[in-house]
Subunit: 432 residues, 2 copies
């Protein structure tokens, strides 16, 4: 039987994992997909000493792989956007199917790539772009296809989750854990991509589009990072029965679609609150199925390769016919649902106020909240530490519109008894 020939561009973490996995599980993969699958040509600017490419043609110019007439399926694992886009578009124009794990590329240029692919009768598949080895794209696009998705909430950046887990379990500061994560190679030298939420926002763009049938619109996601979370917040959350997680949330409401990435207090007893370290998890609420959760390694060489090779196998099994599964899950153009500005979103909130230790401060704070019609659900007020003039006041509010809580916070921050700025962290009950 003629093998299906794979060309791979990029030999970094995921590229070398893909090469290793196709070799390691060759027999299993052939039995499952019905065809032998061979790596014919690899394009990489430099060798990867961890990757055995003996017997495989390697080119320094990745476009030689794209243009190789022996390559049936092109696997783009370069990272970055510009060259990756050129590679994918050229492969499509040559009638080749494309497999990618590039979330930024799909989140920003996905529609253009899918349109080009449909025009040429080929597929661009991208399971590895979100949550590594967890097959969440397939689950949303196929497994839960009968549902109207109501909301989803995910821990989809492993580095951020590792930092928050270490802050809680080890009582350490954000800066300390981040420095360690960088030293261990978990976090990039420029950590903004992970800890400021850009990476999670790319992934949420893709998940929301499939869930709701809306266009990919990365620029409409509200994104807030975790660098301002302190050990005090972690402890107070714990005391109140919550954990702080960096969640990516998409929710359908009567006013439109909420798309937001921000630190979030989650009740301790929820499974999502117990997803620790570099692991990922996505909780999806469908109107028929109810809440379902998908958990596993969201990154890593072989874990992401598991998704990349599954995509290759889907293409091989479909044997060059269209699978009938639309690129973004909707055959029709989907819905014209608007993305809500963050100011229109309602959540409950955790507020940490640093106040001078004077009589009547809490009463004044309560008065401001009441003027803004914000109900207070819980309060923690502690004695000041020895020699301290200030005390922390912790409030949990009922659900309230963002615009209203922002006004209240501005008013509280203007009080002479309130020192510095107020920390506000949104809360989600995640109970359907």
């Amino acid at each position: 039987m003629k093998p299906i020939n794979i060309g791979i561009c990029g030999l970094g973490t995921v590229g070398s994992g893909t090469v290793a996995l196709l070799q390691k599980n060759r027999e299993e993969i052939q039995k499952r997909s019905g065809h032998p699958i061979a790596i014919t040509h690899i394009g990489a600017r430099r060798d990867n000493p961890d990757c055995d490419v003996s017997g495989i043609r390697v080119s320094r110019d990745i476009f030689e792989v794209v243009r190789d007439p022996n390559v049936d399926i092109l696997v783009e694992l370069l990272g970055g956007i510009d060259t990756a886009k050129d590679v994918v578009l050229e492969a499509i124009s040559l009638g080749k199917h494309v497999v990618t794990a590039n979330k930024a590329l799909i989140a920003i240029h996905g529609q253009e790539l899918f349109d080009a692919a449909e025009a040429k009768g080929v597929r661009v598949v991208y399971e590895g772009s979100v949550a590594g080895g967890i097959p969440i794209i397939k689950v949303l696009r196929e497994g839960l296809a009968a549902n109207r998705i109501l909301w989803l909430a995910g821990i989809i950046n492993g580095t951020g989750n590792y930092i928050l887990t270490e802050m809680r379990q080890g009582g350490r500061t954000f800066a300390d854990v981040l420095a360690e994560a960088q030293a261990l190679g978990y976090a990039e030298a420029d950590p903004a991509f992970d800890v400021e939420g850009t990476d999670a926002a790319h992934k949420l763009t893709i998940l929301a589009s499939i869930a709701f049938g809306i266009p990919l619109q990365f620029d409409k996601i509200y994104t807030e990072g975790i660098s301002h979370i302190t050990q005090a917040d972690v402890s107070f959350a714990e005391e109140l029965g919550y954990r702080i997680k960096h969640l990516a949330i998409a929710r359908r409401s009567e006013e439109g679609i909420e798309l937001r990435v921000h630190p979030t207090l989650v009740p301790k007893k929820r499974l999502l609150a117990n997803v620790n370290g570099v692991l990922n998890a996505v909780l999806v609420e469908g109107d028929a199925v109810g809440p379902t959760l998908y958990y596993g390694p969201g990154a890593g060489s072989l874990a992401t390769a598991s998704a990349v090779v599954a995509d290759i196998m889907d293409l091989v099994r479909a044997d060059n016919r269209h699978s009938g599964v639309p690129h973004l899950g909707y055959a029709d153009s989907g819905y014209g649902l608007d993305i809500m500005p963050i100011e229109a979103v309602s959540t409950s909130n955790y507020l940490r106020i640093t106040a001078l230790d004077k009589v009547g401060v809490m009463a004044q704070v309560a008065l401001v909240m009441s003027r803004h019609k914000i109900n207070i659900e819980a309060i923690i007020q502690k004695e000041p530490a020895d020699g301290e003039e200030c005390v922390p006041l912790i409030l949990l509010t009922h659900q309230i519109r963002e615009a209203e809580i922002n006004n209240a916070i501005a008013e509280l921050e203007a009080m002479p008894e309130v020192v510095g700025s107020i920390t506000r962290i949104r809360m989600e009950q995640l109970d359907g």
Copy 2:
């Protein structure tokens, strides 16, 4: 566009949910699948007052649905085996695709049905047969297809999990919770199917076949129920840092495949130990992806309908072409792996021994264990309750072959100081 016509046999819990879901999400389903989907004909021996079938042809003879030339896809939701098998085989012989949620049918007659379907060029799909709305069949057969599956462990019977959860959280007895579950309609009047593990064994048969490429072989599964679990066991497990779950386990080892359903002590901190009530979850360890978990409602009208309708949509999307995904995941005949007899399986164990409160009993017990080369990991020995002559001794053992621990238990039970029979519950760390 010509609609795809669905015939449904059976209008019980899942049948009525399927009718309701196809109506409720008609627009979403059409946008996602690219075709209108219409229910043309329903076969049911009686009406279901909870199900609106207005405008749909209803026959009392379900074979009229099967033979209706307007029916493109036959949905079998009868339950039971014999009539269901006749319905499915006749639908296949007439060239219709079949969707079923019937785990007993697939576990016992699946291969015959799949062979008949392949011969006619149609598909028999069965996502709803395992874990209700959780798309675990799709995940194993497609999403994790690049992996050599090492093991899987699932909570796949909601009634059993509900009973164990209530025993732990409410401090109640097995009999008490079971009676309540029956009154609430969660459990059948004859509860053996749920609590003795038959239902879980049907589902494990299917999962193991897809995971390892082995034939469906229900009769080779070791099955043990939960009716002997006492409140004392639940409390001692808790004290030792474990919870008791009724797990279905399939594991690949050098000696063959382990297939077993039994109560199991699981470390409290594992996600699987925190799956409560009627919910289901399956933990899968792939060699590339690592551990991944799939969680959600494992039963219920709309939740199971979510899987049934997703299967219908897969068929509609594939537009009468073969999807290329083999019925049991392997295009080739898979592996000739043997199923191990339970005597050859090794696990660690929890033992609860009721002993006379005499000096030296623990030493004698330890001597027996040592003669059988069984290492003891932890011991709990308590004072006797007021007026009691007996004390419970709790032992946790290291991993040991079943045959060996059985011999040790027989020897311990023969000791004059040991009263009655010894409770043994297997343990799993589930850490890869």
